[in-house]
Amino acid sequence: MALTREEVRHIARLARLRLTAEEEARYAQQLSAILDYARRLQQVDTSHIPPTATVLPLRAPLREDQPRPSPPREQILANAPATEAGMFRVPPVLDQQP
């Protein structure tokens, strides 16, 4: 089963990746080959097999809810590409029309 360019574009959109036309073509071909290879899994009868999400015994460890110091704000903001007034500066999220 070959992935179409349309499907590749759809996945890229979901994954928030802008691909070039050349990348779209290459990924369509490469992902199809990998998924073809992966299809051998579908021949395995797993109707009575539970899935493994983690090899650890499932548990939800709890800890005391005690306040701890966090790194200073300046240190965190120092890694950001754009900041303003002690906050992350981001491109417009909503239409700027009033």
Binding site: A12, L17, Y27, L41, T46, I49, T52, V55, L56, A82
Partner: protein, 491 residues
Amino acid sequence: MSELHDLTLLEAANYLRSGQASAEQLTLAALGRIEALEPHLHAFLAVTADLALEQAKRADRRLSRWRQGKDETPPPLVLGIPIAVKDVLTLQGAPTTCGSRILEGFHPPYTATSVQRLIQAGAVILGKTNTDEFAMGSSTENSAYGVTHNPWDRRRVPGGSSGGSAAAVAARMCYAALGTDTGGSVRQPAAFCGVTGLKPSYGRVSRYGLIAYGSSLDTVGALARSAADLAPLFQLIAGHDPLDSTSLPEPVPPISLEGANLQGLRIGVPREYFIEGMQAQVEEGVRQALQVLEELGATVEEISLPHTELALPVYYLIAPAEASANLARYDGIRFGPRVEGEDLLASYLNTRGQLFGQEVKRRIMLGTYALSAGYYDAYYGQAQKVRTLIKEDFTRAFERVDLIACPVAPTTAFEIGAHGDDPLSMYLEDVFTLPANLAGVPGIAFPVGFDDHGLPIGMQLNAPPLGEALLLRAAHAYQKVTAWHQEKPEL
């Protein structure tokens, strides 16, 4: 006297204790070695010389206090020992890039627990080693900052993704290095570079400060020149960490390699691991090493891990699926560079589209597809179920045998560019290392010979969960009667 950089970690520790050398001298020797060889190997993404020399001086003060009898307890074995760290583990005061342009200039505000434990014990951190971008690869060719060259043959890859760590240890630029292993990324480069690499059980070493790739598979491990050098490192970094809720609560008993003896040890050799297309000399090397283990008292028998051939497709659905979620955080808002767009969505698309490399984008796409509506059950869900079968293969095998022995990779180090733009053929390099990650069991890789090109051949041992001490003892027993691990590349 051999040169300082040629000492093993344990020998260097003895030099420090006896005062034959200072930590500053060891550090200067390592930094000199790095300066001389980096132009040829490119094992490092950042060298933290100032930090290292400062740590060395502090270590020397601790050592001299101890020698004067002012400190009762013997110092940790790694005190004053220069060690390198793979650039997917954070170290405050140095950049962490994960080999990616999307983290260019990122200075983490905290240090990974595994690294912090080394620092606390007085180790000297030399710098951050090269890696395939976000640890996705088997050669370091996927690093955005250029490939690392194999010290045994510079036209060849060092393996990956911890290729910088493996090359640095093999080239004697450091006494040991931390690496990470999600599908073989400690063991395969260890094999390609002729060093010893330990992938601990899932959950055994804290992942706080490890930048996540595949969260149900990621482990922090270590590489050194021998099992004996690895043992004190593992001892130090293993054990519960309150900052990582997936780290196991079990205590880490002291590991003794003294009198390591294989008498009565049962070793299973899975018939599914000797496949067509495997390099004949790799098989020969592993078979000869098995004979040595038998001479040491172990019994060797053939076993079956029937679902082995499904490990590759299972891994390449589960790991990308987890990666697609983990890498969603790189959006150009809080860290890393941003490629602006006309609105927020365009900014995301541009930043991620332009700053992730080809393999990372490929795996994000693959994972997104496997998790998307309509395909989830057929791909991701089915992969998780087959993973159960692979895990049960190991459980059943370990009812019969104590250890499983097999090759690390089907070939020795391949040439740079050999896999071109064929991702599937590159993935096949991982075929013998992926199952241990899917099952969560520990593994050790160590050199057992050389092929006709003078390239190291690696053997892998796997143990049941929490069996790291047994792995180290078995590898140490082998290394006591063989000298492959003492061979060094001409540089």
